[in-house]
Symmetry: C2
Subunit: 395 residues, 2 copies
Amino acid sequence: MRTEDMILVSVDDHVVEPPDMFLEHVPAKWLDKAPKSVKKPDGTDVWVYEGNEIPNIGLNAVAGRPPEEYNIEPTRYEEIRPGCYDVDERVRDMDRNGVLGSMCFPSFVQFCGQLFARSADKKAALVLLQAYNDWHVDSWCGAHPDRFIPLAIPPLWDPQLMADEVRRMAAKGCHAVTFSEDPAKLGWPHIFGDHWDPFFAACEDEGTIICLHIGSSSTILGLAPGAPIDVLITMTPLNAMQAATDLLWSPVLRKFKGLQFALSEGSIGWLPYWLERIDYVYQQHHFWTHQDFGDRLPSQVAKDHFTFCFISDGAGIEQRDRIGPEQITWECDYPHSDSTWPQSPEALYRQLAGLSDPEIDQITHQNAMRIFGYDPFSLRPRESCTVGALRGLPQ
Amino acid sequence: MRTEDMILVSVDDHVVEPPDMFLEHVPAKWLDKAPKSVKKPDGTDVWVYEGNEIPNIGLNAVAGRPPEEYNIEPTRYEEIRPGCYDVDERVRDMDRNGVLGSMCFPSFVQFCGQLFARSADKKAALVLLQAYNDWHVDSWCGAHPDRFIPLAIPPLWDPQLMADEVRRMAAKGCHAVTFSEDPAKLGWPHIFGDHWDPFFAACEDEGTIICLHIGSSSTILGLAPGAPIDVLITMTPLNAMQAATDLLWSPVLRKFKGLQFALSEGSIGWLPYWLERIDYVYQQHHFWTHQDFGDRLPSQVAKDHFTFCFISDGAGIEQRDRIGPEQITWECDYPHSDSTWPQSPEALYRQLAGLSDPEIDQITHQNAMRIFGYDPFSLRPRESCTVGALRGLPQ
């Protein structure tokens, strides 16, 4: 297989919400409650919601800028690639990068809709959150259904409403939902009790996968006073290890045996260590900690419930057989600063050197298609889906 | 090489301090200030210092107990193996486990002497800390100089006093000192400024290696309200990743180019991921974060300054060439609950299957001897140092 023969599905990208996103989807009587995109006197674009300003952060949208120009200052729509917020331009940027399919996480409403969960007016917040999801599924993904995996945000403040929204979205064909890697850090109950059971039950029933993006606890491991930002960037994927560890030893996976979690932007290179560690912890300590996985080892439980993704992770690829090659998916992270856009195929191909063609197919797209129920080949010819074919389109 | 041919040096074990430890080493006028070992009415042994009780914790001293009997209740000397606190018995337990050499971390004074750093009377605390170090070097290690690597605790409250103590201990032949993986979590300044420079400079001058034991920040990653203790046990080695990350991006390694750190009980399986990640972070972000390592990559800087150890870590062993085989040491962790005592040789040998004899020698003892300046072969015949020879002694 050559670089141009790969078919790429990215399970973690980001949409910078366009200014007009709520107009079509919020009923007229609620429109004055909706977040408004406002241009400030200095030219900066911010969202205003319930009287608070929410800036766009530059590192959210640096695709196509040379690293020398990365910065962490607020920015404006005109300074970022239209592909960040315009879906037709996004698809062109995906074509340029040879990426067939993409699942996009939210930006200003935060990874699991924390913005709405902090609302004073929860009645309005539910309407707006549903409008957000309708926009995401109908307008963003719906504009190019062969190119996107839809992803819903949940009304975190009420697990029964979360369950209802999971079911409503599933009926619209959306079988992925974001959740917090640690809701306790957001001020909600932790996952070690039964508070979230209605949500988990709905996801299990509907075959909806729960995506835990690093940073979705609004906290980052390693963010200490005085620490250079490089500490944060280095450590942040480890939020996924924490989230997986919490879930593994919680009652959740034993209660909901069909539940699936995707650890988004968590990387994979730490998994061989972690899978071995959880088995060691179990075998060495379960007599007094009273954990009981029946006839499975914790590493098997993890493989039964978790899938993982990476941007660039040669150590993880090398040890793919320890991780389980069917658990590994790839992400582009467009338009964030860790992304390899527009050279993702080249960067990825270098890391996959030495793998067999079937292994490359698993990691580049087959796993993602199976895990997220994404079936582009039913919507377009398979031969139009490769890196080479997409890059060959007029751009 | 057979199991019995290995020579084992453990760079991380623990001493449960014996009740009489201060008697010989504290000048008479300070003796009433020294911590006292007190037996409570319920039979529990505690230390009393400045009016506070410090219990011994069972998991600190479970060697030889079946896992079914591990518990986290306070305990008493009679319930633990004499090898925890009696140095002659310790050596016998090392013989039983075929372990030639051992470096022992403190217990009740905490990993880097936090107990003394919290003292109200800092003048007394310095005397007592020095007595502690004298006991450790002269009485504990000194009873069997061929069997121990001495390790000092520093007076954390004053970097100049720390430097003085490093020099005093170096003059006694002790070239290892414990420090906190994150002094800011103990209420002291963080490592990103110049507060600790006198201490670091003394260590660099004296060729004294700084040992950062997981938990030496008195905090643990992953210890969330409601979380089962298994979460803590799983995540705790990642404290070492955090500490290494902090140091790497701090000015410390660039200021003190000869400084060496040992990451104690941090495991090694996460290193291939981490070494790759820090290079990626550097190459992707240094333009705006302004990190500058000159002509080295961060992974090389890490290898120049850090050494690592593991108890059981097949994933790390498998990827030893990514880590640097000369950076890897082994630990027994006697008498803690993660230890494989008294079957450490068997457990370790299984993990080293497939390695060449020179690689096994590096990992089992040569690296530790080089890194810690430990030279047992000058004190006893080399053929008396193997697992088989030690286990063959009367026990």
